[in-house]
């Protein structure tokens, strides 16, 4: 303490002393100046490159514009009306929700299980296994796409002939080309591709749980299952909520994988919202160059964002309701 110089002693902590009951706004701002400074870099980048473009894009939704020069053809709400009436849009929304609601629980359970296994300090070759399960995350979607397509085509050959011998199906199944199976296959590949992210999050989260707790529990006679439910789950809850939310948001924004594997086909059977928007802006699904329609794409983007916000608000309300009920039950 004697090493501190007086200047630093004068710099108070950010929270104002309890003695002053209700300090004025100006005073509070001044007291919190370091908070603002530390917030500033993120705030500047966010406002300039994320929030501003969102507002600008919102402006575009009222025009028919191909991206050249400045928008000039005002169409009012016509773009929104067109999207709302497009059955393919709603189909895409449906597919995206199915994708997210199947992928997130399955992938997170797998990732948690793997994290628990790989977190064990007594596991040999843990480093090797962690790397192995992580690698798909780093492989680019383009490569994954062509590899999977060819693998399925060839696998279909062998699996198909196997199944044909048992008499179950008549030959070859085109996994990605059959509208009934394509989405399921894409979900499976999605789970495989991004599991590494959640594995890392869970591993990091498990670090916040001190090892002593487990040892104490073992001394008390707790089995592994009990310590999992009594120690791991409750202590992971904070980080867990973040992981779940991020996982959902990530799945709602799926694009690369679907675009590369099926392009939304066949006949929109696997179209998700981002491929829908992409096709709007890049000339339909025929690939023939057509004028981009930035206004329409932005309108679709906004409608989808609204849907997601409503959905998340409902989620938050539901979670709050559950925790309120639990708190009430605890009393």
């Amino acid at each position: 303490m004697s090493l501190l110089d007086t200047r630093e002693r004068k710099r108070a902590s950010p929270t104002p002393p309890r003695a002053a009951a209700h300090p004025g706004l100006g005073q509070r701002i001044r007291a919190a100046k370091w908070s603002y400074l530390y917030l500033a870099p993120m705030a500047v980048l966010l406002l300039a490159f994320v929030v501003y473009p969102i507002f600008a894009s919102f402006g575009y939704t009222f025009y028919r514009w191909n991206g050249i020069g400045a928008p000039g053809d005002y169409v009012g709400l016509a773009n929104f009306r067109q999207i709302l009436h497009d059955s393919i849009f709603w189909g895409a929304v449906g597919h995206t929700f199915v994708y997210a609601f199947v992928l997130v629980p399955v992938q997170l359970l797998l990732a948690l299980a793997l994290a628990l296994v790989l977190n064990n300090p007594k596991l040999k070759f843990a480093l090797f296994f962690r790397t192995v399960y992580f690698i798909p995350v780093v492989t680019s979607a383009a490569v994954v796409g062509v590899v999977i397509q060819l693998m399925l085509a060839n696998f279909g050959d062998s699996a198909g002939s196997l199944l044909a011998k048992t008499g179950m199906t008549n030959g070859h199944i085109d996994w990605l080309g059959n509208p009934h199976t394509a989405l399921a296959v894409i979900i499976a590949i999605g789970i495989w591709h991004t599991l590494g992210y959640n594995l890392v999050y869970f591993l990091a989260g498990l670090q916040t749980i001190p090892a002593e707790l487990y040892e104490a529990a073992k001394l008390d006679g707790c089995g592994p299952v009990q310590s999992f439910f009594r120690i791991t789950i409750p202590l992971l809850r904070q980080v867990g909520v973040v992981i779940v939310v991020l996982a959902f948001i990530g799945s709602f924004q799926v694009f690369d994988l679907v675009q590369v594997l099926t392009g939304g086909g066949p006949y929109f059977a696997t179209e998700v919202v981002n491929t829908y928007i992409y096709h709007l802006a890049f000339g339909g699904s025929a690939g023939a160059a057509a004028e981009p329609d930035i206004g329409l794409a932005s309108a679709a983007s906004f409608l989808y964002g609204l849907l997601l916000i409503v959905f998340s608000a409902l989620q938050v309300l539901a979670l709050r309701g559950i925790s309120r009920r639990r708190a009430a039950a605890d009393q």
């Binding site: 969102i54 070759f125 480093l127 790397t131 690698i135 798909p136 693998m151 696998f155 749980i209 964002g305």
Partner: protein
């Protein structure tokens, strides 16, 4: 007598544990092979001839080893220059991202200030909103800042994309750290800066590694942003942009693409291996001190 009765028990317990562990390793290995199979296929394909790529079937092992694919990918796509560009770009992005998001995450999780609720709301909402559809507003902004066609603009725009996720993660993480530490430090006379840089930030090792790793991966694989912001200076291209040189209108040099993606992905794997210490042998114990 007591030793005689005790001896068989440790042995059975040991062999059971060994058996279960052996099974575990087997499962992990088997699962791992299946898990890695597409990647192994791509790896094998990077050594195949173009003909072998399509006719090899499910077999990842090439019939002949075309090591030349790697040298071809390296020279044809000017990979050495792109490699340096990508390293600079990724490093810059990671530093900017880690600094900005850890500071903001800390402030939002642990301090009080007027307007905090507004910022929390903003970060939350931006998480869900689609990030506009077109690159044009950002492009115009960068142009007005006279930063077009520099690596700096790529770093800034790429980092901006990671602001919300990173802040969210750090926020979540800092909330879990025991308040007692902060209070104790404050009692000791530590100021705002010291609390953050000497206590909170070091404690967030796992999150630093996580956010840093993902910022690095996203930057490394980022394609559109580096392409657009270095339009007139092709010498500033990054690896993923360079790889797209292999993709033509009707056909693609797939074996070269595979070789290119192996080259592109190896450094990330190495970084992952290095950073693993932070995920695993973290400073979990330090929290209780």
């Amino acid at each position: 007598m007591s030793t005689l009765s005790q001896r068989p028990r440790p042995r059975t317990r040991l062999s059971l544990r060994q058996g279960r562990r052996g099974l575990l390793y087997l499962a992990l290995l088997g699962g791992g092979l299946i898990w890695l199979y597409p990647f192994l296929w791509a790896l094998g394909s990077s050594l195949k001839s173009t003909d072998g790529f399509f006719s090899g079937g499910l077999n990842p092992i090439p019939s002949e080893f075309h090591w030349s694919n790697y040298s071809e990918a390296w020279t044809q796509a000017d990979f050495s220059r792109f490699f340096v560009n990508t390293v600079l770009f990724a490093t810059g992005t990671v530093i900017v991202t880690l600094l900005a998001t850890s500071m903001a995450g800390y402030v939002l999780a642990r301090t009080e200030f007027p307007g905090k609720k507004i910022w929390l709301g903003l970060v939350g909402v931006t998480l869900f909103l689609p990030h506009g559809y077109t690159i044009i507003p950002v492009f115009d902004l960068i142009q007005r800042l006279h930063l077009l066609n520099t690596l700096w603009s790529v770093v800034i725009v790429q980092s901006a994309g990671g602001m919300v996720f990173g802040t969210f993660l750090f926020m979540g993480y800092f909330t879990t750290i025991d308040r007692g530490l902060e209070d104790a430090a404050r009692v000791d006379g530590a100021n705002f800066h010291q609390i953050f840089w000497r206590i909170m930030l070091p404690l967030s090792g796992p999150m630093l590694a996580t956010v840093g790793l993902f910022a690095c991966i996203n930057a490394w694989n980022s394609f559109f942003i580096p392409l657009v912001f270095t339009l007139s200076r092709p010498e500033l291209h990054t690896l993923s942009v360079g790889m797209f040189n292999f993709i033509g209108q009707n056909s693609t040099a797939w074996t070269l693409v595979c070789a290119g993606s192996v080259i592109t992905l190896l450094p990330i794997v190495l970084i992952f291996i290095v950073l693993q210490r932070f995920f695993i042998n973290g400073l979990a114990g330090a929290v209780k001190q």
